[in-house]
Symmetry: C2
Amino acid sequence: MSKPYETPDVSVDVVLLTLIEGHLHVALHERPKEPDAGMLALLGGYVHVDDGSEADVEGTAFRVLREKGGLRPRYLEQLRTYSGRERDPTRGFTVAISHVALVPHEELAASDSRLHLYAVDELPKLAFDHNRQVTEAVERVRNKSSYSTLPCWLLPRAFTLTQLQHTYEQIFGETVKRSTFRTRLGLKVGDVKAGEAIDEAGCIVATDEFQGGNQRPARLFRVNQLGLFKRASW
Amino acid sequence: MSKPYETPDVSVDVVLLTLIEGHLHVALHERPKEPDAGMLALLGGYVHVDDGSEADVEGTAFRVLREKGGLRPRYLEQLRTYSGRERDPTRGFTVAISHVALVPHEELAASDSRLHLYAVDELPKLAFDHNRQVTEAVERVRNKSSYSTLPCWLLPRAFTLTQLQHTYEQIFGETVKRSTFRTRLGLKVGDVKAGEAIDEAGCIVATDEFQGGNQRPARLFRVNQLGLFKRASW
């Protein structure tokens, strides 16, 4: 198809985040090709317009994660589009539609990929504008965590309330009392039954499973959807 | 330059919003060409990769607004990138990087453009996915208004606190008392001096000008920057 103007290169980048021992980590790989060959970079790839397999750029992001990470994250959202002449030393005006993906560390560890995991606060110099993309992705995750179930996507499919609390604490870098945690997210206090939600918006639901064989096994919970808490204020 | 894959068409759309008699309006034009010729559409255009005049897609947005609207809005931000095979009936896989721009109605009225202004809640069917873009832009403006000076960009450069209050009321569709308004945005009550800020973050500053020649002329204020209020809660 002839284009009225020369078109920019269009790729999709993914800031793939996970939580390891209380710290947010980002998945990186070594660029196999120039420009910036050998440098650490985010996962990314061109939009495949020809083969019809990608409906939109979200489809591109899922393909990149499957091909380069062996992963299908349950949480993916568009972050922002980065563009310009200065991003890439060789390719002129480029456009990168950046996404954020969250996966539990268990899933990442089980995949057969050769990804390198780096703590987001201790990154080396990455290729292109990837340091900036990571910074903005982490900011987005922290902001959104204060009023939504977003951190749940960093946990296994079923989790205890203690695990949930630790995840929020780790994202915000602040330890709180159990009662404070429940108040901030507007979580129900006291006994719950299987199938019952513990927040007003119905985001987090009790399962009939428990963890730990000791005297007080902890009930496991699951998240319904990316929910917005009705009364959250971290 | 040869591309490793066929690249999608890349354009920039702008949801240009203004406030007229208490209602958010969007600026539209009639598409001069196919596809969707004659239909109302957002302002938009291709990214000009060749001529070197645009540093990035924000530059494209400013050019589109200058060429098609005779405008240079003080507030412009990226909204989201819309993409896919279904957006455009003729051009295959397209990518549109959508922006939101805010202008005071006075500026829009003074420009020599042939834009049509429609209330955002009473839109006809627009070209492509432009209805969805307007909906998401208005949602973004309402969300961001609750904790920032964003609505100030819909006002003239100098404005009274009554005008400011009306603008917030119009965006949120709720009338409040003068004292409630000041409490919600954390604005200082009582007399201020020229050059003094009335919010904790220093976003809104008193000028030495006044409006109205009657017994109690109202002081004019100006906004420093896109500021986040420290204690805002609309």
